[in-house]
Amino acid sequence: MTRILSLLAAMVLAGPALAAIEIEEVETPGGFNAWLVEEPSIPFTALELRFTGGAALDAEGKRGATNLMVGLLEEGAGDMDARGFAEATEELAASFSYEASQDTVSVSAKFLTETRDDSVALLRESLVNPTFSETAIERVRKQVLSGLRSDRTDPDAIASEAFDRTVFGDHPYGSPKKGTIESVEAMTRDDILAAWRAAIAQDRVVISAAGDISAEELASLIDELLGDLPEEGAPKPEDIDVGTAAGNTVIPFDTPQSVAIFGHEGIERDDEDFFAAYVMNTILGGGGFEARLMEEVREKRGLTYGIYSYLMPMDHAELYLGRVASANDRIAEAISVIRDEWRKLAENGVTEAELEQAKTYLTGAYPLRFDGNGPIARILVGMQMDGLTPEYIETRNDRIEAVTLEDIQRVAARVLKPDALRFVVVGQPEGLETDAPVQ
């Protein structure tokens, strides 16, 4: 092994070559801004749109309206019914996907160069002229209700829902974006139209593209696609503070493996300590096999198949979250190990070796992300959502490198809150102390 390691050290110093990607900032005659990476070698374009606001815009008592609305965008538009729209999409071999999350409505599109104009015309119909016919509403409503019924007996869904309710209460973040069986049953066409006007508007769209398209072509495509949308959408909800108390909430459910969601308050994306916190979490619970939680809970003790933690900055609150699943008679031990690790890192920080390992991983992995039109378009739209500039790509690894052991120590003491670490456990955990009553 020594040989491999020394060879490795030499290569790490050299550093992997950075992907040469060039971002063009495109301003359209219609006043939209977009980021583009032009890459003509494969004759298609990946286009990403994000409408900020998302399901959190749902009106009072209309929880699930945005989600249902988004599910209906491809179910009929202009003079096409659902089938007509699907057939037209297939004939063009384009692919469109629409998704609502708490903070955004995402539209991801891929289309061939040879069918670009017609693909964009079709996509435009779904955004600007959706039909929301009663028959489509009934069909999609049934699908959403079927999903909601399944969630009632899905341990992960039960745990997430309970965690969010505990943390966010009546704020939109406190309930599932899909709504409830009652709210979805009661949703009318007017509610759906209102949700559409609230969420799909010019004042909140973020755009990126990568592939076989020039800046000029992209500009006119965007104006055609979005120029007829309403100018303004609905105001966004208030920010909310996250407050949790240490302890375990148990929701009894008859299943062999308990599922636990855990966490507390997180850190804002534009906080100057965010990079240090990100590196710290990579060491604590980032997805890799080297993370402390993976090592302690899985590798050393075999208590789980998967465990991870992640920072989740949202538009109106920040969370630090994790997930683990263990057999009912072992989950108590898993939770106890996680609590210990949380406290240990908060108090003692990390070692120089761990920090170096995390840095070489993060800096080495970064250029590998830019490996295709699809991934590049998604990265570009994500950067804009985070308020970054195109130059970020060149400086990002330097900022990771600049994180010191002291930074990690400071951030660990600030961000990790063992005394606020709440676990919501769904299952029949044995020997686990519970402080919160079943809801």
Partner: protein, 461 residues
């Protein structure tokens, strides 16, 4: 729009035949060769980003296990991260991560594969380590017990906690009377708990050798570079004549009786019905029927415009979801399946009857030529989109070559899909939809729970 779209489609199809020709010639830059020790090599070039995917595929999967040791192929896959004569447990992944890469592995019925995604200039190091664990695995008894707990938790997560997964296990076990495809890849829990070091080494010694493996490298590399590195690292591992004998597994006898299952689990809140038929797979040099079944899957179950969704979701409003499943890339005969999730107020019996009526109508009416044309065009386009992700091309080759197919078969496949006619699709359907070689399964909650759920809902409304 319909008229416009039709006109458009006509235009595109007119333009396509010429294009379809070059798809095969130019779309994928694939080079294949073989090392002296019998290890096959596939190189897929993509020079847009300095990234490479390095995969080693073994012609050995769960269906090659000894009876009584179910799950050992997957168990061993986990254990390959546990160290060799020169690598400490966990060190493999640590080195990959230290180089900015990610790594993992997976086990299927017919193959086991290990892969890393790294910067292109780290390829040699990946090969060095992968060649090392191909033959130098060093396991200790303690370590493997912890890892056995991990795979049991994996089974808990994937299967025991999910009534739908439990039902699919039961269905598969009933579908195959004799073939090991009836045994779950992850293993039966009752056998997993006693898997030991001997089981793991027995499987390792039987299947892990360069002459039973395929190297697939995709990304920013040239075939010459790959050849040099592969000869250095993998070429140094001698072929093992004990390994890689033709795979002969117990085959299915004639099936003469339809099987029906009902599984009840209180955790089911959305009941559904599944049906699986035994179905042929792609054979080397003989893939036409599998191509017809691949198209049949799309015709019947591919999205909004498919036959099942049109009939069950849109016209008769009896289902909230209907789908068809077929995977032709297997070593032995596989299955063709359906799932129907009934709409509220529709029983599983009614949903099943509606499925059968729809299939019957389809067999009589045949394939809608417009639909078939759309599907074929989408399949062509999907080859253009696939170039954006060479990893997916790497997986396509790896899977096919470990399922008994050749490079020629892989390359002939897209054209075959374009050639298959509507008549062939219906003929393949008639051949496969034989109830004597099928299983129908209902998944639902016990009656009491169902009533309770219903009441609950009524109260809430």
């Amino acid at each position: 729009m319909t008229r416009l779209a039709a006109a458009l489609a006509a235009l595109m199809f007119a333009a396509l035949p010429a294009q379809a020709q070059d798809i095969r010639e130019t779309l994928e830059e694939v080079t294949t060769f073989e090392l002296d020790n019998g290890m096959e090599v596939v190189v897929v070039e993509d020079h847009r980003a300095p990234v490479v995917v390095h995969m080693v595929w073994y012609r050995a999967g769960a269906a090659d296990e000894q009876p009584g040791a179910s799950g050992v192929a997957h168990f061993l896959e986990h254990l390959l991260f546990k160290g060799t004569d020169t690598l400490e447990p966990g060190e493999f992944s640590e080195v990959v991560a230290r180089n900015g890469g990610s790594d993992n592995a997976f086990t299927s019925f017919d193959q086991t594969a290990y892969y890393q995604r790294v910067a292109a200039d780290r390829l040699g190091l990946m090969m060095e380590m992968e060649a090392d664990r191909m033959v130098n695995l060093r396991l200790d008894r303690e370590d493997i017990l912890t890892e056995r707990d991990v795979i049991i938790e994996e089974r808990n997560m994937r299967v025991e906690n999910d009534p739908s997964a439990l039902m699919r296990e039961q269905l598969n076990a009933a579908l195959y009377l004799n073939h090991p495809y009836g045994t779950p890849i992850i293993g039966w829990r009752e056998e997993m708990v006693s898997l030991d070091l001997d089981d793991a080494y027995a499987y390792y010694d039987r299947f892990y050798a360069p002459n039973n493996a395929i190297l697939v490298v995709a990304g920013d590399v040239s075939p010459d570079e790959v050849r040099d590195m592969a000869e250095e690292h993998y070429g140094a591992v001698p072929a093992n004549p004990e390994v890689g004998a033709p795979r002969t597994r117990p085959q299915e006898p004639r099936q003469m009786a339809e099987r029906r299952l009902t599984m009840e689990d209180p955790r089911v809140s959305q009941p559904y019905v599944m049906r699986s038929y035994l179905a042929p797979e792609r054979d080397p040099g003989d893939q036409r029927e599998a191509a017809a079944l691949t198209l049949l899957e799309e015709v019947l179950g591919g999205g909004q415009t498919s036959v099942l969704n049109r009939a069950l979701q849109f016209d008769r409003k009896m289902a909230v979801y209907a789908g068809a499943f077929y995977d032709g890339t297997k070593y032995d005969d596989g299955s063709f399946g359906f799932a129907v999730v009934p709409a509220p107020g529709v029983s599983l019996e009614e949903a099943e009857a509606a499925l059968d009526e729809t299939l019957q109508d389809f067999l009589e009416e045949g394939v809608d030529p417009d639909q078939l044309a759309r599907i074929k065009f989408q399949m062509k386009a999907s080859r253009i989109y696939a170039q954006d992700n060479v990893g997916s091309i790497a997986r396509r080759y790896g899977r096919a070559l470990t399922s008994g197919l050749t490079v020629e078969d892989v390359q002939a496949w897209p054209a075959l899909l374009q050639e298959v006619t509507g008549e062939e699709i219906v003929a393949a359907a008639r051949e496969v939809f034989n109830r004597d070689s099928s299983v129908t399964a209902y998944l639902k909650a016990p009656e009491a729970e169902q009533d309770a759920a219903q009441e609950n809902e009524e109260v809430m409304q």
